[in-house]
Symmetry: C2
């Protein structure tokens, strides 16, 4: 088994990761067999285990990529000093979620895995929570911490609808939120 360095990666390695992401997001982790992933990627099943060690190792590789993507996404919010922009950017985040097909699959997997494996990534969100709490404090909100939690929970709910309810219209909700927070 090989350590994945992210920079050196064979074509087939990438194909496996991409296929696994797609299938895990569509069918779920437990319901997707390694043989299905191999067939979809057009490689032998053994290659998955050569590169990722186990089925769980394959999932971990996908989730690790995800963490870096999330960090990148949060960075522009966390380093923002204008409190109104912090809130506005947080709200806008949800819009970018469904823009690309790959991005949508990625976030859907994150949520699906959260329910399937029961490992809620509290710490990943902590930086964002602090930024929001700080922003609400600057703007003179009474309970900035709860206000921040509340907005993040709302974003969670919105993302859930976006992933599971095809007919769901996000735009009206985003406009509603912007007006509510005056950003």
């Amino acid at each position: 088994m090989q350590v994945i360095t992210h920079f050196i990666m064979t074509e087939k390695q990438e194909k496996i990761l991409h296929s696994a992401l797609e299938l895990f997001a569509k069918e779920g982790y437990s319901a997707t067999s390694t043989s299905k992933v191999a067939k979809h990627a057009g490689v032998s099943e053994g290659l998955i285990f050569r590169h990722f060690g186990s089925k769980e190792g394959l999932l971990d590789a996908i989730l690790k990529e995800g963490e870096e993507k999330a960090k990148l996404l949060f960075a522009s919010i966390v380093f923002e000093t204008n409190p109104q922009l912090v809130i506005a950017k947080t709200i806008d985040m949800i819009e970018s979620l469904g823009k690309s097909k790959e991005g949508f699959e990625f976030w859907k997997l994150q949520y699906k895995i959260k329910w399937e494996t029961e490992k809620y990534s509290e710490q990943k969100m902590e930086a964002l929570h602090m930024s929001l709490s700080n922003a609400f404090n600057k703007l003179g909100y009474e309970t900035p911490d709860i206000e921040a939690t509340f907005l993040l929970i709302t974003m969670d709910g919105l993302a859930t609808r976006l992933c599971l309810q095809e007919s769901f219209q996000v735009e009206p909700m985003i406009i509603f939120l912007r007006r509510k927070y005056k950003v």
Copy 2:
């Protein structure tokens, strides 16, 4: 295979249903085998198929029970005429969610299944949505429909946290919401 009438049900049938609910909620539907359910319920595996036809039939029986539970829970809100009480009762709903162990498992399964099988139960919530929309309208809110959607999404987000984040404190959020809507 037998039609489940809900009123006539053997002890073993109930044990199967109860065990399946517990295991599906804990491990997920795909990750729970029928043999696991049988062992947990203390019956032979064949009995599951005699009574429920298939693994999916077993799930359907649980979900059907769930629909009736949900209807009962929503009834006291839908038939409420005081708009402030409609909102208050909707918010309070989340508190009752985690009260009993069985109730918690039941709602956890509902959410888990929603992510695992991709069948979002829009219509189940429609009556509640209309009641809320009507309440917000009576109270003079500008966009009562969006306001109702927003509250329901918030409730979704809260339920998610409650199910997945053990450390999560609901009470402060409920107090916050009550103050926010002045109910």
